[in-house]
């Protein structure tokens, strides 16, 4: 985890104000209620001390000094204390609950925005950003960016409290006010110092917590390898090193806390002592009475804790500013391009690549000056070594990526003129890695669409998934993943194919999508595909039996098409092709 950089104080204040305004604006009512709660609380807290001072002067001292016990006054005293206490309690509830709601709703909004971003950015974004980072944004970062809202209403309440307190002190005596005016700013300064000193150690601790969890993740992920290599001891040592450095970072942070926390505790008490000294001198010369001093002392005690919450709030502010800026940047990521409203014709569709170029960043292009016509209704096999650009070519058709130059057409229409949603209804791409949702088998193929049982059965028959699904504990209703069964690679691929077929695509692209399926079954699937639907099929193939079934073979090398024709023709005309296919055929030996 990177250190949270410390922007200059001034810009933090400005940015914090902007951020807080933005958060609060979306939850005006909730914020308002929590602020009201905090304000009434502050008033009630000061009220308690005033009542206490009054009771001391007007009820307690007369009762003991002059033995004047008036039942009504005593009852009133008790009632007043009770009421003001209950008022305090209920305003705490208001403030706390609504401050929590404010925080939680802001976090919910962040989650929604991030989720939408993750779904709407182009595939390229996901290829370039580690999953862990995106998950961290959705988890820890959201909390870090908005946790500041929790103490916000209370902090505003504290500000009000300090003002009330200083005013109420000023009505008592300006000397006592002076003590407060020295004490509170010095508390604030010490808090600030504390925050500054703790910042780097805190970041170190967080970084090391991350280190420990990375090791645990990796080590448990690779547990089979750890066990078979007998590396438990080494793994344990690795964790020990990380745990040790975390421990020492925590202890150094603890030492800083050990200096400041007791100091922050002690200051208000020293203030009270100063107040008593000055107060009793003032009483002696008749400028004050005892009740005033009691009231002032109670006020000081009252302010000690809230000042700390204020410190906590100040500490959260820079983090919230930095992290929310980071999240904003994620949310502002460029979205998938929109398309036009061209209409696709019926039936199987031809696919055309015209002078297509595609590359990642500064790397040499994956595809270069590529021209290819795939006739409507044909089955074309795409053959080439790893890195020849097969997968990229496949991804261009449903527009998961856009070419850097050149045009891709579907049924003669430039893909950029089509609505991507419409395009993807017509084109089905099946990947080698099958992604299944943690849901039922049925839901995984229908993807929430209303599809009849018969249609599902038909598609599953073509994909040769019918039999194994029937053997699952609950057939189509079996849960997959986390809390359900785990399927093998071949089973997963056949489900993915079922999923694709159910969408009745007019172009079907199988990007090595049957690699884990038995070759016998694979051939059967391809034969059934040919007769089942009116569609164009593009197959990335490794197996000779598959290649042979295609109408035409396209041989891709170095991002360009080097040869095309039937399997037999290519075997004779292209020696590279012959060598590659030979390797495919005998690779398993």
């Amino acid at each position: 985890m990177e250190l949270v950089e410390t922007p200059s104080a001034k810009s933090v204040i400005r940015r914090a104000a902007t951020l807080l305004r933005r958060y609060v604006r979306k939850q005006r009512l909730v914020f308002f209620i929590s602020i009201i709660g905090a304000a009434i609380y502050a008033a009630a807290a000061v009220g308690t001390t005033i009542i206490l001072g009054n009771i001391t002067n007007n009820v307690i001292i007369p009762a003991f000094e002059d033995n004047e016990k008036e039942a009504r006054a005593i009852w009133y005293s008790g009632l007043a204390l009770l009421l003001v206490g209950f008022l305090r309690a209920s305003t705490i509830i208001l403030r706390r609950y609504f401050a929590a709601l404010l925080t939680l709703r802001t976090q919910r909004q962040w989650r929604r925005d991030l989720a939408a971003t993750y779904l709407e950015v182009p595939l390229k974004y996901h290829r370039e950003t580690p999953t862990g980072q995106l998950l961290a944004h959705a988890d820890a970062d959201i909390v870090a960016s908005s946790e500041v809202l929790n103490p916000l209403p209370f902090s505003i309440g504290v500000a009000a409290l300090v003002i009330f307190a200083v005013i109420s002190l000023a009505t008592v005596d300006w000397f006592l006010t002076l003590v407060a005016l020295v004490l509170f700013p010095s508390l604030a300064i010490i808090n600030r110092l504390y925050t500054a000193r703790a910042e780097i150690p805190l970041a170190t601790v967080q970084e090391r917590v991350g280190g420990v969890s990375r090791i645990a993740h990796e080590s448990f992920d690779g547990v089979l390898v750890v066990k078979t290599l007998g590396r438990e001891q080494q793994e344990s040592e690795r964790l020990e090193t990380a745990a040790d450095s975390l421990r020492s970072a925590r202890i150094s942070l603890g030492k800083i806390r050990g200096v400041f926390e007791p100091m922050i505790d002690a200051l208000p008490n020293l203030g009270i002592i100063a107040l008593l000294l000055i107060g009793s001198w003032q009483v002696s010369i008749g400028r004050l009475n005892t009740g005033d001093v009691v009231q002032a002392a109670a006020l000081f005690g009252l302010l000690a804790f809230p000042m700390r919450v204020f410190g906590f709030f100040l500490q959260e502010v820079p983090r919230a500013v930095v992290v929310s800026a980071r999240l904003d940047k994620v949310i502002d990521a460029e979205r998938e391009p929109k398309g036009g409203d061209a209409v696709i014709t019926d039936g199987a569709l031809a696919v055309d690549f015209e002078n297509v170029r595609f590359g990642y960043g500064d790397d040499p292009p994956v595809l270069e000056n590529l021209n290819l016509h795939i006739p409507a209704g044909s089955i074309v096999a795409l053959v080439g070594v790893v890195g020849s650009g097969k997968s990229t070519l496949c991804e261009l058709i449903p527009r998961l990526v856009d070419p850097d130059a050149g045009t891709v057409r579907l049924g003669g229409i430039d893909l950029r003129d089509l609505d991507p949603e419409e395009l993807r209804r017509e084109v089905a791409l099946v990947f080698q890695e099958t992604f299944l949702f943690a849901d039922t088998v049925l839901e995984n193929v229908t993807l929430g669409d209303e599809i009849t049982e018969e249609e599902v059965a038909n598609a599953a028959r073509i994909a040769h998934a019918e039999n194994f699904v029937a053997r699952l504990p609950e057939g189509w209703k079996t849960e997959i993943g986390e809390r359900g069964v785990t399927l093998s690679g071949g089973q997963r691929q056949r489900l993915a194919l079922t999923r694709a077929l159910l969408r009745k695509p007019r172009v079907l692209i199988l990007d090595d999508a049957t690699s884990a399926v038995d070759p016998v079954i694979e051939s059967a699937i391809l034969r059934d595909l040919r007769t089942s639907l009116a569609m164009t099929t593009l197959v990335v193939a490794h197996r000779v039996s598959t290649i042979e079934l295609a109408d035409e073979v396209v041989f891709l090398d170095g991002g360009q098409i080097v040869a095309r024709g039937s399997h037999k023709e290519l075997l004779q005309s292209n020696s590279d092709y012959a060598r590659l296919v030979h390797a495919y055929a005998h690779g398993g030996e």
């Binding site: 309690a89 993750y118 988890d139 785990t486 690779g587």
Partner: protein, 625 residues
């Protein structure tokens, strides 16, 4: 013609079965957890603390002195109310009027105590942090070690996340508590008790009254505490669910776009986010209600002490100053009680986390390593399996009465359909689990008597998917044997004919392989696994044949490497391709957990049994090139 002959079209299904079995386990665990939440009394903080202290004796070290310091510090906080009383009574309201000397002295002493307490608190805090961090570090390491000693059945993908959180987030909850909550507990409880004691010096009646009013807080807090624990437990699982959805949206980015699934994914995410929010909001309700409970009770206490104090004070020997002091003392109790309420939820999460870590440490380790274990002999190892049964704890038997003698140096292929028990059999040979009945001897020594180091070096399993650690290629290969040098690594590479491949990588041996080795292809990861095995020089090699497609170039390198690695060793291959079986010296055919046939390929074909049937069906189906 295509030579990829696959018997078991879908590969390693027994692993799937195994995972299914343990996810059942998991469901039981979940239900158990839910039950715990429903039947509150089962969550017993004290019991967890007792277990925790027994488990971490280092906590006791210096505990008494720390407690003493904390107590002194807390008592020091009572200075202020006493000072106020003294100043009012003896400094202001004394018979002789204002006494500046006395006031000055009292204030001086109080200031000294406040400053002294400040320094003492610092020492106490550093001591506490040091002790708790040391304890947590040890607990973490022990939990981590324990996870690695758990049987494989615990390590399916679902459990993995849970196990990781035992070592990370659960311990972090305890750490957070140790840093804030633990100190507060000690200081606050001392203040509460101390205050009552000081109060009873002024008037035991008022102290008793305060105590009586405060008592109902305890059962109320306990009740709320439980509800809160339950609420936070739900929050935690909801957070997990949301993250699972987010992770689906990220990891399934390709299919989601290819199939236009954004609306569906969005709806699912929205549901998860709302569920999380609702659970958090209802937890916030408890959070909001608990804290002010202290205030409400404080108001009752203050009002009743004030009233009774004024009314009966004189007859109880009170004067104005001591009554005011008592009022301050009542106020002083409020803060700590409220703070106790404040840290209760933190305490609860910490205790829940601690309980989970302790439960993990209590999870039995099925495999006990022998003391003074024996070393396996040098050279290829023979295998002798005698009447072996195997069953997972939750499921039925996977292997039934398997007996077989396999000579040293033979190449053996295990074939069978999905769920026939062949992968389990291979795991038993590597002692990833022990048979529930029967015995396995390797190189003539019962496997359970073999020293762990000798076993991991001399018996080497190469799993299907070679998992790599996020470091360099060289470091990953060197993991094959403890203390392997770079020269050893290079030798192993050249022995397997992998030099060309390594040289072709961008940074050769220094290439960073990325998380889980994802910077390399599946086939390349398998090459690393083979090189690791070569370093160890095992006498028995167990290969789980890969089912996933590997590009032809790597496939060839892989085949050569495998041939060289197998030379002079006993090899057992879990075969997914018939060609592997064809070339093996001995074929073992498994069916429904039973060893059906053993013999060479030609013998078994001639015997016209199950194997012959499999072979014929494969021959009949294969197309010609």
């Amino acid at each position: 013609m295509s030579d990829e002959k696959i018997l078991d079209p879908d590969g390693h299904d027994e692993i799937a079965l195994l995972e299914h079995a343990s996810s059942f386990d998991d469901t039981v665990a979940l239900e158990h957890e839910l039950m715990m939440h429903d039947e509150g009394p089962k969550v017993r903080a004290i019991a967890v603390l007792r277990r925790g202290f027994a488990e971490s004796p280092e906590l006791r070290k210096g505990l008494r002195l720390t407690l003493l310091f904390a107590t002194i510090g807390a008592v020091g906080r009572l200075t202020i109310p006493v000072l106020i009383q003294q100043v009012i009574d003896k400094g202001l309201l004394a018979d002789e009027g204002f006494r500046p000397g006395f006031t000055l002295t009292a204030c001086g002493i109080a200031a000294a105590i406040v400053i002294g307490v400040m320094f003492l608190a610092r020492v106490t805090y550093v001591r506490l942090v040091t002790t708790s961090e040391t304890m947590l570090r040890n607990l973490r390491v022990r939990a981590f070690d324990h996870v690695h000693r758990l049987p494989m059945a615990h390590h399916d993908s679902t459990r993995r996340g849970e196990l990781t959180s035992r070592v990370t987030s659960d311990i972090e909850t305890i750490a957070r508590f140790a840093q804030y909550g633990a100190v507060a507990w000690i200081v606050d409880s001392v203040i509460v008790v101390g205050t009552l004691i000081v109060m009873s010096v002024y008037s035991w009646h008022l102290a008793l009254l305060t105590a009586i009013v405060a008592v109902p807080i305890l059962p109320l807090f306990r009740f709320m505490q439980r509800r809160q624990l339950k609420a936070y437990g739900i929050v935690r699982s909801r957070v997990g669910e949301t993250l699972a959805e987010v992770s689906e949206a990220v990891q399934g980015a390709g299919p989601i776009r290819a199939y236009g699934l954004q609306p569906r994914a969005k709806a699912r995410l929205e549901t998860a986010i709302m569920r999380q929010y609702k659970s958090e909001a209802s937890a916030a309700r408890w959070f909001a209600f608990m804290f002010p409970l202290g205030d409400a009770f404080g108001a009752i206490a203050l009002a009743s002490v004030t009233m009774t104090g004024i009314w009966f004070g004189e007859s109880w020997g009170l004067n104005a100053g001591s009554l005011v002091a008592c009022l301050f003392l009542v106020q002083l109790i409020l803060g700590p009680i409220a703070e106790l309420g404040e840290i209760l939820d933190q305490t609860q999460t910490a205790i829940a986390g601690w309980a989970k870590v302790l439960d993990l440490l209590d999870t039995p380790i099925d495999l006990q390593e022998p003391e003074n274990g024996r070393d396996l002999p040098a050279g290829p190892l023979s295998i002798s399996v005698r009447a072996v049964d195997f069953a997972y704890r939750t499921g039925g038997r996977v292997l039934h009465d398997v007996s077989v003698e396999l000579p040293a140096g033979a190449s053996i292929a295990i074939v069978g359909e999905t769920g026939s028990g062949k992968t389990t059999f291979a795991k038993l040979l590597n002692r990833l689990a022990d048979p529930t009945a029967g015995e396995i001897l390797i190189g003539g020594i019962p496997l359970t008597d073999v020293d762990k180091d000798s076993r991991t070096r001399r018996i080497r399993m190469v799993p299907q998917d070679g998992f790599l650690f996020d470091t360099t290629l060289a470091a990953n290969i060197a993991m094959g044997r403890n203390g392997a040098t770079e020269t050893d690594v290079k030798r192993a590479i050249s022995e397997l004919g992998l030099t060309e491949w390594v040289d072709g990588l961008p940074r050769g041996l220094e290439t960073e392989v990325g998380e889980r080795g994802e910077g390399l292809s599946v086939g390349e990861r398998q090459l690393v696994a083979l090189a690791r095995a070569q370093l160890a020089d095992p006498g028995l090699l167990i290969l789980d044949e890969a089912t996933s497609a590997v590009d032809p170039r790597t496939e060839r390198t892989l085949t050569t490497a495998l041939l060289r690695l197998a030379e002079g060793r006993t090899t057992v291959s879990v075969a997914h391709r018939l060609s592997t079986a064809e070339q093996a010296d001995i074929v073992m055919v498994f069916d429904a957990g039973k060893l059906l046939e053993v013999g060479s390929h030609s013998e078994l074909v001639a015997a016209n049994g199950r194997y012959a049937e499999l072979y014929r069906s494969w021959l009949g189906n294969t197309g010609q090139v």
